[in-house]
Symmetry: C2
Subunit: 360 residues, 2 copies
């Protein structure tokens, strides 16, 4: 697929981190969620993210930022990847995306970057591409854009974006100013959000000119900006490793939501464009079931229903339980009521307390 | 422990058959319930049955009747066993016990035999022994005795024995005539039985003089009696195998309850003595939990409780489910709501339909 003219300056950044503890025992610290084919598509979530972006732009404009632990696995899953940025240690999403922005800005001044989580599921490539084109148009005009996912229900599992006045931007007819970002609401608040028509789900996708992002950073997080600038200057030199080693651990550990999106939205500098594709962050096993994960063919249900995943191909029989999710791996077993799917992270916490690091 | 004088003529017969499909995947056709240590006692149910009887009488007076498939496993579990009778094929409990009776009668005319299931759990050896002594006294006086388990609640999982008038028998002060045997009742009937004080649980234990049993058989099941007599006559000769092979398949397939206990009770020939020990036939996983099976130490319960058995020592985590039983074996997995424990047999039926004979 040829790159649309509007995406000529567009680069994608995929921060690939986070174990996904609520998907234990499928996801582990050494085998995180983004490396897994969770929806039986034949491609890992990272590979699907890659495919989605590579349908819009060439491989050399897709960058992945990850930790040392997963660099090899990512190279293996993405053989066409040339832009792998390896962090010495995890310092949340702002240093990761900021590093990519600074490195890309050095080679391509005024480029537009979009950051996309490595472990989300999105359906409808055409709608995704259309949203990106609008977001890039907004970014080229100087704002930081985000994509607001059209809610399909009053979910309490996601953050929300409140949209304000329409913005006059060529090529982004649906763009609106962002009034605020709000954290996961309770059920009543979520229902009110949905009824108002002004709220969309926050899928964590941010699109911005690199120089705009770095200017915001210089103003809002000057220490972080200085560190990233120092690292980017050394990036193509022999000094990269030394500078990374000295500087990276000093960078402020902060998410891009808190470092940029929230403060810039309060200043009127954020815009939202609508994403009408279906999207899910596959945050827990209930979400995994919703995105279409299938039970193993050997499963037997007697007066029962749910999802049964058997990694070692042994049959799973469930009797007299509804909405239950069973996940068997060679080394562990989880049985969880669908409506308690979020509490799976407590199992991982308990395993850590018991010093079963071999299992988390 | 010396044999009490009252048990001088007493022999025990243990029919060891039945897979226990409601305890799948722990029990299998090739690894039946009676060979398993289900209550974590360190001894299989068969070994516990042996121990209970061997505390009363010497090993050479304990006989086990089983099929060819399990003969070797039984010899291994019971190295002191000398009286193993191997059936060419399963023909239910009456041919099994009748064969033992005929073989014992040939060597010990007028002996008393008691038959005891190989896969029940009994607590309180002293009370068990006391019940046997009364039952043997009743049997010596010419009746067929059974032991009525004092009910601890209105169970619908067991058959019941209705007792009638007291019987004057020396050494069996608590003996009463049996009015009737009744099948597993519904809950209301079970409650009425309990309230009446006249009903006890049928633990399937029968104690009788061998000549009395064989006389009843000759009258009630003449074909079966003739076949057993033919086999017993050849038992200590070179012709045993031939006669067994020819005759065994012709024997009526019938349980001792229907062949003897029910018709003889209607004639007034059955007596019941009380068993005040705790007893369970461990018929399903709910019963297994009740007899004290413990969850594996690695199990993790988050807002959950029940029983988690992990045969391959992998940890089992349960989240948001109560009264759930999880059983993991190397080749299968069962998750069952405690109050649906009886339906586990439907899983085994489904596996047979799917031709997974490797798993049943």
């Amino acid at each position: 697929m040829p790159t649309p003219a509007s995406l000529e300056s567009f680069h994608a950044v995929i921060p690939a981190g986070g174990a996904g503890t609520r998907l234990w025992p499928l996801s582990r610290s050494g085998r995180p969620k983004f490396l897994l084919d969770l929806d039986d598509s034949g491609r890992s979530l990272l590979q699907q993210t890659w495919d989605r972006l590579n349908a819009l732009i060439p491989a050399e404009r897709i960058h992945v930022v990850t930790g040392t632990a997963h660099a090899d696995a990512i190279r293996e899953q993405l053989p066409e990847l040339t832009g792998l940025l390896v962090e010495p240690s995890p310092r949340d999403s702002m240093p990761a995306i900021g590093l990519a922005a600074a490195v890309i800005e050095a080679d391509h001044p005024g480029a537009v970057i979009g950051s996309f989580a490595a472990d989300h599921v999105i359906d409808d490539q055409a709608a995704f591409g259309a949203a990106i084109e609008q977001a890039v148009a907004v970014a080229l005009a100087g704002r930081v854009a985000t994509i607001g996912i059209a809610p399909t229900g009053p979910s309490t599992a996601f953050g929300y974006i409140e949209s304000g006045e329409p913005l006059p931007v060529d090529g982004a007819g649906s763009a609106r100013a962002v009034t605020s970002f709000v954290e996961k609401p309770d059920a009543a608040t979520a229902a009110a959000y949905l009824a108002s028509g002004r709220y969309s789900w926050n899928g964590g996708m941010f699109v911005t000119r690199t120089d705009v992002l770095l200017d915001h950073l210089a103003r809002l997080q000057p220490g972080l900006h200085a560190g990233l600038t120092r690292i980017a200057a050394a990036w193509t030199t022999d000094g990269r490793a030394d500078v990374l080693e000295q500087t990276w651990p000093t960078l402020t550990k902060i998410a891009i939501d808190h470092a940029i999106a929230e403060p810039v939205s309060l200043e009127g500098g954020m815009a939202v464009v609508p994403g009408t594709f279906s999207w899910d962050d596959v945050g827990d096993f209930a979400a995994l079931q919703d995105v279409g994960a299938a039970s193993s063919a050997d499963a037997i249900w007697v007066d029962a229903d749910g999802l049964a995943i058997s990694q070692d191909d042994t049959p799973i029989a469930v009797v007299g339980l509804h909405d239950v999710i069973v996940v068997r791996t060679p080394d562990a077993l989880l049985v969880v009521a669908r409506d308690h799917a979020q509490q799976v992270k407590e199992v991982v916490a308990e395993l850590k307390r018991r010093r079963r690091d071999d299992l988390v």
